[in-house]
Symmetry: C2
Subunit: 348 residues, 2 copies
């Protein structure tokens, strides 16, 4: 019996030569698929995540639809904080909302260690997914929110455009802010380790709101915690990706956080993005809005991205942000096909 | 009688040596001032703009409060489109909303030329402001929305985070998009010329949503129209500023649009921003959120900006986005004082 070959997605993460450019889509599991909407009906996304039979099915739906090179767990960055009882809900159309935001040192007690029991629904979902992915040797990507981004939600109490409360805390009470991030680092490491131990072969850390920081703020208030998270899983055999939005000025710093791959949002041309992250692998970065105007225009946009990505190894095609709800799944399927046929896999 | 000296603000716009670093704040006229809230009470901002006695008073309030080096007209980028009857309203807490968005070639007829009669309230406001500014030789800044940003509102029908409709129009029907922008160029030039002819000595073009575009999209779909606007006022004696948010990747392109100054938002370190715009003057870029945590921390942040701005000429201190409504006016006054005392004016 010959050894099972390493999937292209994992090879690309590690900068190794691939047979074709791998592709998956952020938010591929969820809102844009009619079979997802049929399955989920109404209710909070956290309710759907809590049922392994549902969450595993949603994780697998895009694999069947699109032929992507990786599955990503149907989950949410607030799952571990919901699990420890911090009092977070996800309000449809608004996002995570915290009834009692983190505001003082006494709130640190509301952030205990994450035990395996509290996330049994997550690991049970992975246990259902892994055997289904085995026949095609498709890797599962686990994920978590990066400590700074999670802290933004916990401190602001919900989505914000100004980040006024957390920036005030950072600059006025950096000690409290650091204590908060230390708790989040511990929880994030536990959450990722559980996913990896149950079979996730890659993990993506979403620092979605890192782009709200200047470079100096990022390096002081976000990067150290992110680095600790990657150090905390460095003993495990897993590929790692770090992604944020609006991070053009931060890419050079993010490249030092310890991940294999840096995700690049669609604002930054990929050739320039590669220059900023040095020898890291990159992932990205088709503007999701360009998948809304039909297949021909989406393919045209895909080709523009592939051209800027160049022919080097260490490249994973993705959107430069999550799939928009109004996206036609057939367009995404066509994008996958185009990437597989036309992407230059670095084996020339 | 000796000649009246040119104000530092105008000298800085043109890259000439100044006696001290000039400073003003985007959105200095409005929401954060209690005297503004007392004056305006409820109602649409367009109602307040329509009354020259009110609009001129709001324009002057920050001059008295802060000692800034320039006044900016109390107005809104949708004013000319409201004036021609396009059907735009400004909804408090939401922004501009268009009852019937621009969708097809027949809508071009809804964008006639802007006549002086339609904006008499704006020029009457300027006529009231100019004599009040004369004793301190403080320049008035007029402004308009850049064609792409205005088009975003007219096509999307209101604020958006995804720009799905306008991007679809751009890529699917570039001819219609170009026709729309040509109409907006003509209206914008008329609007700016009227302001300059009545006494505005500088104008700022707000391309607030330019950051929603990739560099290739910006150069194809936004920059040419912006360039035409600056060409359309090039015969007038006026300093010109171009500003957008999230434009880190676009600064090099924006520097070719024809303005004297490129405004830099707070995401981009000023030394790096200067590098990207070449020999243009720059304006920016204190994060408005850093003015929310008291005077001491705001001054600390101001010093960081001044350090990155360096000692070259061609620099105007500003925020890197508009004043946040919750800002304490005393903090902004302290920032002005610090800039005037500590800014390195390039005369060493």
């Amino acid at each position: 019996m010959s050894a099972v070959p390493e999937p292209d997605f994992l090879k690309a993460c590690r900068g190794e030569a691939v047979t074709r450019v791998p592709v998956w889509f952020m938010r591929q599991a969820g809102r844009s698929l009619p079979e997802y909407r049929a399955l989920r009906a109404t209710g909070s996304i956290l309710d759907a995540i809590a049922v392994p039979e549902v969450a595993s099915e949603v994780t697998l739906q895009p694999i069947r639809r699109y032929g992507v090179d990786a599955a990503i767990l149907f989950s949410d960055i607030v799952v571990p904080y919901h699990a420890i009882g911090f009092g977070v809900e996800v309000v449809p159309g608004r996002g995570p909302v915290i009834a009692e935001p983190f505001a003082s040192v006494s709130d640190l007690d509301r952030l205990p260690d994450l035990t395996d029991e509290l996330i049994e629904h997550v690991t049970a979902t992975i246990d259902l997914v892994i055997p289904e992915l085995a026949p095609t040797n498709t890797p599962l990507i686990g994920f978590a929110g990066a400590p700074f981004t999670v802290a933004s939600y916990l401190v602001e109490g919900g989505p914000t455009r100004e980040f006024a409360i957390i920036k005030t805390m950072m600059h006025r009470d950096p000690k409290l802010f650091d204590q908060l991030l230390d708790r989040l680092v511990a929880i994030t490491i536990s959450f990722l380790r559980a996913q990896i131990e149950h079979g996730a072969r890659a993990v993506q850390l979403f620092d979605s709101w890192a782009g709200s920081l200047t470079k100096a703020e990022y390096e002081r208030f976000a990067l150290p915690a992110t680095r600790k998270v990657f150090e905390g899983i460095a003993d495990l055999d897993v590929a790692t990706i770090l992604f944020g939005v609006g991070t053009g000025e931060l890419l050079g710093s993010m490249a030092t956080a310890g991940s294999n791959v840096v995700g690049i949002d669609w604002h930054v041309d990929l050739d320039e993005g590669r220059r900023r992250v040095g020898d890291k692998a990159v992932q990205g970065n088709l503007d999701p809005a360009r998948c809304l105007a039909g297949e021909a225009l989406a393919i045209e946009a895909t080709r523009e991205v592939l051209t800027l990505a160049g022919t080097d190894t260490g490249y994973i095609f993705n959107l430069g942000h999550g799939v928009l709800p109004a996206t036609d799944p057939d367009v995404l399927a066509a994008v996958v096909k185009a990437v597989h046929e036309e992407g230059k896999a670095g084996v020339e």
